[in-house]
Symmetry: D2
């Protein structure tokens, strides 16, 4: 389990895009990854909420890392596609994104994602995603 | 036409998230918006390509602004959902994203998006999107 | 509750397409609808499994009826879009499709769907969907 | 070219589900397949239009056959996922569905689809799709 967490955290720390957004790895389990995003005015759109594209980007990462927890250590994953529904304005102190593998596989892995806005003690669902990932085996340039 | 370009450029300049990514408005026409994104190492994932989530985010903006060009000036648009297929690694000097309205409407607008990586004189298709937008009329907090 | 079940069952019985496929309404609750589909060779593709398009069609109905359970009696729903991932070959004695509202709303309703193949006592997940529906109020031609 | 047309037509004729709907293969080219669907009351939903699930099913087939035209003869394709936007009510004498490969590939093929309602001499866009297909090589049970 500790190996799994280290694998995901190490990989995540090598993603400049996620650092630019200020996203952080949360809970990690086999088939599951959580990412936490603090509110930052730099991430907003013109109405003051977190940009829907940022929501999609972080949720895509959560889905991809959830997939990575289910494939061998010498393999990596590439996102084939993702689809996100924005359910409510992304307004909160911070945001939680969960990726969960709904179908593991040697080549194709499918993850569902859920996004939540947290304000005070309240949590509100703000997004739902389905992502399709491809596991890539034996290529050094696509690993973790 | 100049009014249209000003409307889109003004709105875009009020999106901190797009500035954070370094995205710039390109060509604007009724039913069409182009966004240009220079390569920046800050936008990459662990394999050195632009993060798929960033591709989705900028393409979502292109689709949304294409929709905005087709609705009245007192209205705004909200993204209901978008779906992106990543067709090839996002490797290039810069990237072009096109949003194009495939179905205008009073309430629901559907845009298709296309992403291209440009390297030297070569351009390669890297992404395809379909986005569903909702036009919101008469609300000061959702305008342009 | 009985009113709700009658509303959904009546509407479903007026869908010739669902009768052509042999689909039947199962459990109905507020925010939830189940549809059951017996295996029929007429519904297969060239490899002997239920056609993915049929899976999508029945799951779309389950998602739409789940949405209908959450909106007023004088309103109807139209599908704006749906996205389905086919997770495993649709091979079984019969199939169960669940639609569940993940976000109710006056105008936009989002439902998640899940498909299962049932063979003997075993049930296997074969599909996942997200659908976006529009509630249409006060139009006699779009009612239930 | 004749070989290509025969390959697609033969495979299509082995899909009972498409026959049940009354769908017919139209134009076939490398990377492109058209399917034609005559109006039939059996295919409608409760408002008298062709059921959105039927639109999705036929468009999925068009996208899948477009993909099949681009892969070797000993290989077959499986649909991983598809996403369809229903742009207008499917009302017409007949319907045309076009599938077009936007990204060929050895393993993953992506097709875009477009649906049209034809009434008299008029043609109206009614649907847009993106589908992801997996090419399966060397398996006798997944061939054409």
């Amino acid at each position: 389990m500790q190996g799994l967490i280290t694998r995901i955290t190490d990989s995540f720390s090598r993603q400049p895009a996620m650092q630019l957004l200020g996203a952080e790895i949360g809970r990690v389990e086999t088939g599951f990854t959580e990412i936490v995003l603090p509110f930052d005015i730099k991430l907003t759109q013109q109405h003051g909420f977190i940009h829907g594209g940022v929501i999609g980007a972080v949720l895509d990462s959560a889905c991809g890392y959830a997939a990575l927890t289910t494939i061998p250590e010498d393999a990596g994953v590439l996102t084939i596609e993702y689809k996100v529904n924005l359910l409510a304005p992304a307004k909160g102190d911070h945001f939680r994104f969960e990726g969960r593998v709904v179908k593991p596989g040697r080549t194709i892995v499918v993850s569902d994602g859920a996004g939540y806005a947290v304000q005070g003690g309240d949590e509100k669902r703000i997004a739902t995603m389905t992502a399709t990932l491809m596991a890539v085996h034996g290529r050094d340039d696509v690993k973790d």
